[in-house]
Symmetry: C2
Subunit: 341 residues, 2 copies
DNA sequence: CTGTTAGCGCTTTCAC
DNA sequence: GTGAAAGCGCTAACAG
């Protein structure tokens, strides 16, 4: 049988209450007593039973998920995953609420964050829009004792506790190598479609992509980025336009969302020429396009994993527990036609 | 506040003990009473607090992990992950023991399985060697009430409860497409290195690989498979031999373990010719080879994920709980130089 | 500062 | 068949 608080109490010659105070670093214990108890804990090899502790506390953790109100499949998927987590929350002693904010709008995000500072939930997860104001708002929250984790897009330089998302520079580089190798030494232009350079994930993907192309595929030219604001219609228009104007385009890298529009534009052109295409985010649309050959490879981040990970990390933090690092690493999935889930 | 057993008892006008009997489908309750309680449970929307239940039961789950005693990095890694799980087990109310069996030896595996039938652990995870005897031994266990899950290599047609591993046919097809596209339409032979055709995972990878090459890359010829028994030295010898004999080899697919030997053979030949290589399993050796350009892509299964998943599934089964399917899907990781963890 | 006591939600004797 | 009561390991009032 594992040692319990009773064993510690007996070994240290104190009461349960005192053991509990030491265990939870609560005040009201003399230094000597504390030392005695701590020694007993160590000698006896005690490990706290978190389940029992949580049962006794009867506490549930109010968590808040802030997600952008973007009308694209990726964000819909992310929302669905958060809802699934909400459905599971009674079992997990969490009480999750979601808040929608306009996409790419730092001011709106700051307003929500500041308001949450009043509410004081046990933790906050957000898809960060990268701006100094947001960074400051997050830092205020953290300093007031509310742990914050970023999901999908990070906020480096801030005090956020954790980032549940992929390494976007690596993602860009991976896309570049895939595109370069699939093109097999051909010479030509590459069109890049992004959502907005305001979010860090998109900026980083572009950066990684451009640098690897420059380093290893000098015959390829990366054209100026097209910003489609993750909006299908806008993406369609801009890509169609680019393809019409530029005959030298032999490949496309779509690093944001709104791929529905991209795919439409590619199909319009299908008769004219065969492009090699790498896109981000597996959705119903990109999946179909991968299967029918319009897209050659899809890079993906598992939104479900990101949401579950963010929650696990926030909960562990609240419980003062550690997590399994490997389990919280969000990997970059590469999907070809053959390994779709 | 969530409804508890007390609420059910009150609503149904019975005692806690009776509610508990109904909840755990134990005998000793009249049909009428049972119905009354079940109605109350339904109306009140009760969900059992598993943590509390487990606390009261004080039960821990004895689980057994059977792993092959293969001397290659992948199996070492798998072993390490099992040990890590063992280290975590006090916290998770599991009591995990590992048993080593000789690799590719159905008889030895059967002996161990039969012996475990006596011991009656709460669940068994094994890396299956595919043979009718093993299948029967597993079926005997399952029929005697011990849930069994397969890890890494499956045992289809058996009564195993779950498989924690990748889809190996898809893995083979993915390797084929990657190799085919990287080779960019070249004509030549492809050497295939496997461990043994006795394990299902290797057979399936080969099958997927050969079929996709045949379908989509008719200019490539898949040579008869080389069986290196996942042994570095044996692999080295056989591959070196094949490369020396066959000048038309332009690509290599290594679908098993023992890549240390393969890499050595490839490096010996490095001066002569540039091969395109896809290998399975990310280890210190394959990682280095990917970075230095000896290997072009690595397909991987996350052993840590497999082990954790097997345990979660077994535990959930023992607790009568359900799992999050997406979380238990073991994906095929594709690593290029740029997205290594 | 320290100890006593009564639970958290569930299971499990042991009576009736 | 059914119920009362004790207890799993921990926390939280409330006394002293």
């Amino acid at each position: 049988m594992r040692p319990t608080v009773h064993d510690i109490a007996a070994a240290a010659g104190v009461s349960l209450a005192t053991v509990d105070r030491v265990l939870n670093q609560r005040p009201g214990v003399r230094g000597v007593t504390r030392d005695k108890v701590e020694a007993a804990i160590r000698e006896i090899g005690y490990v706290r039973d978190v389940a029992a502790a949580n049962l006794a506390k009867g506490r549930t953790y109010p968590l808040v998920f802030i997600v952008p109100a973007s009308d694209n499949s990726f964000m819909h998927g992310l929302n669905a995953e958060v809802r699934a987590a909400v459905a599971r929350s009674p079992v997990e002693r969490t009480d999750i609420r979601t808040v929608e904010v306009p996409a790419f709008d730092p001011a709106a995000l700051v307003a929500v964050l500041d308001q949450l500072g009043e509410e004081r939930p046990a933790g906050i997860a957000l898809v960060a829009t990268d701006s100094p104001d947001v960074r400051e708002a997050v830092d205020r929250l953290v300093q007031s004792g509310i742990p914050v984790v970023t999901v999908v897009s990070d906020l480096t330089g801030s005090l956020r506790y954790h980032y549940a998302g992929v390494d976007n520079i690596a993602a860009g580089r991976t896309a570049a190598r895939l595109l370069g190798r699939f093109l097999g030494g051909a010479k030509g232009d590459i069109a890049v479609l992004a959502g907005s350079m305001l979010v860090r994930d998109h900026r980083e993907r572009l950066e990684g992509f451009a640098s690897l192309i420059a380093e290893e595929f000098p015959d390829l030219t990366v054209l100026p980025v097209i910003e489609g604001r993750d909006d299908p219609d806008m993406a369609h228009m801009l890509v169609a336009d680019a393809l019409a104007k530029r005959d030298a385009i032999i490949g496309v890298y779509s690093l944001g969302a709104g791929n529905r529009g991209l795919i439409r534009a590619l199909k319009d052109k299908a008769a004219d020429r065969r492009l090699t295409v790498v896109a981000h985010e597996l959705t119903a649309h990109t999946r179909a396009a991968l299967l029918d050959g319009t897209i050659d490879a899809i890079l993906n981040q598992d939104a479900g994993h990101e949401v579950r990970s963010a929650i696990r990390v926030l909960k562990a933090k609240a419980d003062g527990l550690s997590v399994i690092d490997a389990q919280e690493r969000i990997r970059l999935d590469i999907f070809l036609k053959d390994n779709l889930p």
